[in-house]
């Protein structure tokens, strides 16, 4: 039964999205990759004519590592009452994939907007969509290596992974990350503790 709480994935020890409270009143359902295409086509036939967004999430601590999320919108059929028009029905379809060997069927022939959205997911996460007409990178340069939005990708880029923060070296930073005035959190805590003790005594 679809509910507003994210259903847990079968067979995973921890499933972070199912531990979260519902954020809105959209219904959420989980689909296996093998049943995904049939389910999406059925939903489109049911009236979910709009794919609002298609995204992926990386949970590195979970076995099917990625969650591909389809945000669907059911527009009211004409003629519709004012209440119907104001509140189209929302549905979120989640599909757990591992990313390396699982390939998802493409949704671009069901909703055209999935074309570039799937390219973006491929570019940033590395999830391959089978049947896609033109699956290549869209945001990163075409010869970029690596999938930047995975949690194990260095934020500053592989070339600058080891250079210190801040990117420029000041004489006043002995180690990168030391504030030049020496006011670290530990020093401030010591200061407060000392002030309390002095105030008490």
């Amino acid at each position: 039964m679809p509910s507003t709480q994210t259903p847990p994935i079968a067979g995973a020890a921890i499933d972070p999205p199912s531990l979260r409270p519902p954020i809105d009143d959209a219904e959420i359902e989980r689909v296996e990759p093998s049943a995904l295409k049939a389910r999406l086509e059925a939903l489109k036939a049911q009236g979910y004519t709009m794919l609002l967004d298609l995204g992926a999430v990386d949970y590195p601590e979970r076995t099917p590592r990625f969650d591909v999320v389809y945000h669907l919108l059911k527009m009211p059929v004409k003629p519709a009452s004012v209440a119907e028009v104001g509140t189209p029905k929302r549905l979120r379809v989640l599909c757990g994939v591992s990313g390396d060997d699982t390939r998802l069927p493409t949704a671009m022939y069901i909703w055209k907007v999935a074309d570039w959205a799937e390219r973006e997911i491929f570019d940033l996460f590395g999830i391959v969509f089978e049947g896609h007409a033109d699956l290549r990178r869209i945001q990163m340069p075409h010869d970029w290596e690596g999938y930047p939005l995975r949690k194990d990708y260095p934020v500053r880029g592989p070339a600058r992974e080891r250079s210190p923060r801040p990117a420029f070296a000041l004489k006043s930073n002995v180690q990168a990350g030391t504030p030049p005035s020496g006011r670290t959190l530990e020093a401030l805590q010591e200061q407060i503790k000392r002030a309390r003790e002095d105030g008490k005594s």
Binding site: M140, R156, G157, R165, A167
Partner: protein
């Protein structure tokens, strides 16, 4: 320049040429991100860069002599900026407007080039996020000062 007796005005050709160049610096629109909004407001009547000589912002690099890099330079955009800079005719100057163009700004990540001066030589850096329009006008003034003092471009401006 001196006005001689009669109707003669004597000056060095260099000075006249530099006066002409500095009085009509035409920028190339390289509005990449949010700083472009401030660059647009510099062209608006309140700050009005046209009174400093930048009457038009040319879209073609062949017709511009100042490139105002305003905004984040993405990794994907960097070769494009380089190509447009190469297509500009000499003498040319570059203003790096804003924190992102000067050093990467708050975007210390894989996607943003950490300073456009890794790609093209810059003459004036304007700090700010975004810099106020008068900051950009001051940078244009510095470029004009460089031009009048004989800078070809590539010399850091004196503050």
């Amino acid at each position: 320049m001196e006005v001689g007796p009669g109707q003669f005005l004597l000056a060095r050709l260099d000075d006249v040429a530099r006066w002409a160049q500095s009085s009509s610096v035409w920028p190339l629109t390289m509005g990449l991100a949010c700083c472009a909004i401030e660059m647009m407001s510099v062209t608006a009547p309140e700050y009005d860069i046209a009174r400093l000589g930048s009457e038009v912002f040319r879209s073609s690099p062949r017709q511009a002599d100042l490139m105002i890099v305003s905004g984040r330079v993405a990794q994907k955009m960097a070769p494009v900026v380089k190509r447009l800079y190469d297509q500009m005719a000499d003498p040319k100057w570059v203003i790096s407007m804003g924190a992102c163009a000067s050093s990467g700004g708050i975007f210390d990540n894989y996607a943003v080039v950490q300073g456009v001066d890794t790609v093209i030589p810059v003459d004036v850096y304007v700090p700010g996020c975004p810099p106020t329009p008068d900051g950009l006008l001051y940078a244009v003034n510095l470029i004009q000062q460089q031009i009048r003092e004989g800078g070809r471009g590539g010399i850091l401006a004196r503050s």
